[in-house]
């Protein structure tokens, strides 16, 4: 029996025996009555535990998430001590986080509850067939075979739920609250404000900053990905050229840069490119320039600089991948083309490049999305600067993520940052889903 909709649970209740019916109220009853003692007890324990939690704390935590706090902390003067004494109040932020944790737990419990009913019905059906349901040991054995995927997925899924999904829900919730620099906990409470923050971003004061930053984020992601890809291939071709000896040495040389932690190389780059850094000093000493080149302080040049520095970091990776592809490329096509008198450009343009592109498409998409969220390069190199007097808290090279970071760390405007986070998130999610479904469709069509 499948349980694709809720109706089946009604049918099961109607047709089930007394034990299955009892399992709707007392979890595990179905298992206990049908010779699955251990599982039955576990279900029972989870129900008891859940309800103890629900009535001791759960309901209060849920309610807290709805109200986000009603009691302010207060100070009263204690004459005998000569100091103020603080009476704690509600903390909206913690109420929100713990409320979300409770919510996740309730979803988890509902899943367990449904499993309990399905299990009870199944056990009943097996008994009715005249067989005996699997004992706990046989049950455990299925986790190494038929349900091996459950075994392998459990730990990763728990990790993702705790460290990615719950924080994500928290962030999304913040976008609908008034949590900004005038409502800082623990002294102040913040509340739900609906869509006001979205309105502010799209039509209010902030829009003058939002759209330019969004545009630059997209331009940056596109250019950063394309330049690394294109020049990476060129570098691989260069190293693979017949005239170059010691190919392995050259490859290793470029690969070394990948092993240096990015925060180190970026901070060093920032120093190198600074107006007083060695590059400017050297050029000035040689008399090539009279004024330092404002690599990081001129709005346009800074944009070029971050893209170029990103190439320094990204090219070796593409180079490595495309080298491996080049070596494995079937040579017969190339040889045939050479016989037909095609020059190197043509071979590259019509044979090599399309093949590399096909193979690297998935990694390119990942890089594009990675670049939309590329915090390190911008934050460590320019810090989003140079600052721009037309923007609200953003500089000329700020991406949505770095702007978001500044809004939380510098201005404590968590609600606005959350809105930007959601928009960034939706943007990259839609894009990647679109491309993902298209490439897999393409892959499955051509390869399988």
């Amino acid at each position: 029996m499948t349980y694709t909709n809720g109706l089946h649970y009604v049918t099961t209740f109607r047709t089930g025996d007394w034990a299955t019916k009892l399992a709707y109220i007392v979890m595990g009853a179905g298992h206990l009555a049908h010779h699955q003692i251990v599982k039955g007890l576990l279900y029972l324990a989870s129900e008891i535990g859940f309800f103890i939690f629900l009535f001791s704390d759960g309901l209060r935590l849920l309610q807290g998430m709805v109200t986000l706090g009603t009691r302010h902390q207060s100070w009263t003067y204690d004459k005998s001590l000569g100091i103020m004494v603080r009476t704690p109040g509600d903390n909206s932020m913690l109420m929100l986080i713990y409320g979300i944790m409770t919510l996740v737990l309730i979803v988890l419990f509902i899943t367990v509850y449904c499993m309990n009913i399905k299990g009870a019905a199944k056990a009943e059906a097996i008994i009715a067939d005249g067989r005996r349901p699997r004992g706990i040991l046989a049950e455990l054995a299925t986790f190494l075979d038929g349900r091996f995927h459950v075994t392998l997925l459990t730990i990763p899924v728990i990790g993702v739920v705790i460290f990615t999904v719950m924080p994500l829900v928290y962030m999304i919730s913040l976008a609908f609250t008034s949590y900004d620099h005038t409502h800082l906990p623990p002294r102040n409470l913040f509340g739900w404000v609906g869509l006001a923050n979205f309105q502010n971003i799209i039509s209010g004061d902030i829009s003058g900053t939002f759209f330019p930053v969004l545009a630059w984020t997209l331009v940056w992601a596109l250019l950063a990905t394309v330049t690394c890809f294109f020049f990476g291939i060129l570098l691989a071709l260069l190293i693979n050229d017949d005239s170059v000896k010691y190919k392995k040495f050259w490859r290793t040389l470029f690969v070394i840069t990948m092993a240096v932690p990015p925060f180190v190389s970026l901070l060093v780059m920032q120093n190198l490119l600074h107006a007083a850094g060695p590059i400017n000093t050297l050029l000035q000493n040689w008399g090539w320039i009279s004024q330092p080149i404002p690599f990081l302080t001129d709005p346009w040049l800074a944009k070029v600089t971050v893209i170029v520095v990103n190439m320094w970091i990204g090219i070796p990776i593409t180079m490595l991948i495309s080298t491996a592809i080049l070596i494995n490329l079937p040579m017969d096509q190339v040889e045939a083309a050479q016989l037909d008198g095609a020059n190197r450009y043509h071979i590259f343009r019509y044979i090599t490049f399309p093949q590399i592109l096909t193979v690297m498409m998935p990694s390119l998409i990942q890089q594009f999305i990675g670049n939309i969220n590329n915090f390190n390069v911008i934050y460590l190199l320019t810090g989003g600067g140079p600052s721009n007097s037309h923007f609200y808290g953003a500089g000329d090279t700020d991406l949505l993520v770095t702007w978001l970071y500044k809004l939380t760390v510098d201005s404590a405007d968590y609600n606005l940052a959350a809105v930007i986070g959601i928009i960034t998130f939706v943007l990259s999610a839609v894009f990647s889903l679109l491309v993902y479904t298209r490439t897999t469709a393409y892959k499955e069509g051509s390869l399988r």
Binding site: I239, I256, V264
Partner: protein, 276 residues
């Protein structure tokens, strides 16, 4: 015989210099005798090992050796756990067929896009609920949990192993667990090494998340928090050369490891691609 062109070699030499210069400069800075963040020359006026001595001097505010040890512990454990998680996810989603497979694939793809910075404070309080803040275990857990969403490269690798292998083993009566451990894993050395290498490097590079979790517990810092902290306004000028020395100390082992494992890295990252 065609005459070999000279320009590819010249271009390569120039590019090589461009790529090596920042690293070369960091090395020079690490051995520079004169302190200061900015100097108007490339080669130090005199060389010294003082920066390294300073680094390892066991200053209580600045326990670099301890940080090194912490980072090593975190990276070893998170490497083990992350590799297990990534390989499990990739294997399951590549080889096994079950009801929610496609949903999980798409959800994982979308969750990966989420800018993690926003939620750092939530992660902090979740860890606090488990009483784990300011512990190395917390770092291991956080780094490993992100590994669950970075399985795409490994999945590409498993996709290339022919299904017929599994099928014949199944006919012989092997369980899925046995297939996984006896057949698939032994064939997957490159991808395991690749995954482990990436996971091992992460704790050496993250300086924001780790700082939020560790707070003021200096003896539990990782090297990247410590090094990044050196470069604030009041200490940048005096500690810059020490910072460079620290960078060198952490970059060296990773570089050696990287060069040594390069072929696995290439095999791993291109596996799905080349064979498919």
């Amino acid at each position: 015989m065609k005459k070999k062109a000279l320009w590819p070699r010249i271009t390569l030499v120039i590019l090589g210099i461009v790529w090596m210069f920042p690293i070369f400069w960091t090395v020079l800075t690490a051995f520079r005798g004169e302190s200061g963040q900015f100097v108007s020359y490339i080669f130090p006026k005199h060389y010294s090992l003082n920066n390294f001595r300073n680094l390892f001097s066991n200053n209580p505010n600045f326990p670099f050796l301890l940080w090194l040890k912490n980072t090593l512990i975190v990276s070893i454990f998170s490497c083990l756990l992350s590799t297990f998680i990534t390989v499990s996810m990739a294997y399951v989603l590549s080889r096994l067929r079950f009801k929610f497979r496609n949903t999980i694939l798409k959800v994982a793809l979308v969750l990966n896009m989420f800018p993690a910075f926003m939620a750092m404070i939530a992660v902090y309080y979740i860890l606090k609920a488990f009483d784990l803040t300011q512990t190395l275990l917390a770092l291991v857990l956080v780094y490993s949990s992100t590994a669950a969403l970075t399985f795409y490269v490994a999945k590409g690798f498993f996709d290339t192993i022919p299904m017929s292998l599994d099928e014949s083993a199944m006919i012989d009566g092997a369980t899925k667990f046995q297939i996984f451990t006896k057949i698939t894993l032994p064939m997957s050395q490159p991808i395991i090494v690749y995954t482990a290498l990436m996971a091992f490097m992460q704790p050496w590079m993250d300086f924001i998340f780790a700082k939020i979790i560790m707070g003021d517990n200096v003896p539990k810092y990782t090297v990247s928090i410590g090094l990044y902290a050196m470069l604030n306004q009041t200490t940048a000028n005096t500690l810059y050369t020490t910072f460079a020395a620290g960078c060198l100390v952490i970059a060296l082992p990773i570089t050696v490891l990287f060069i040594y494992l390069q072929k696995y890295y290439v095999a791993g990252i291109t596996s799905g691609a080349v064979k498919g």
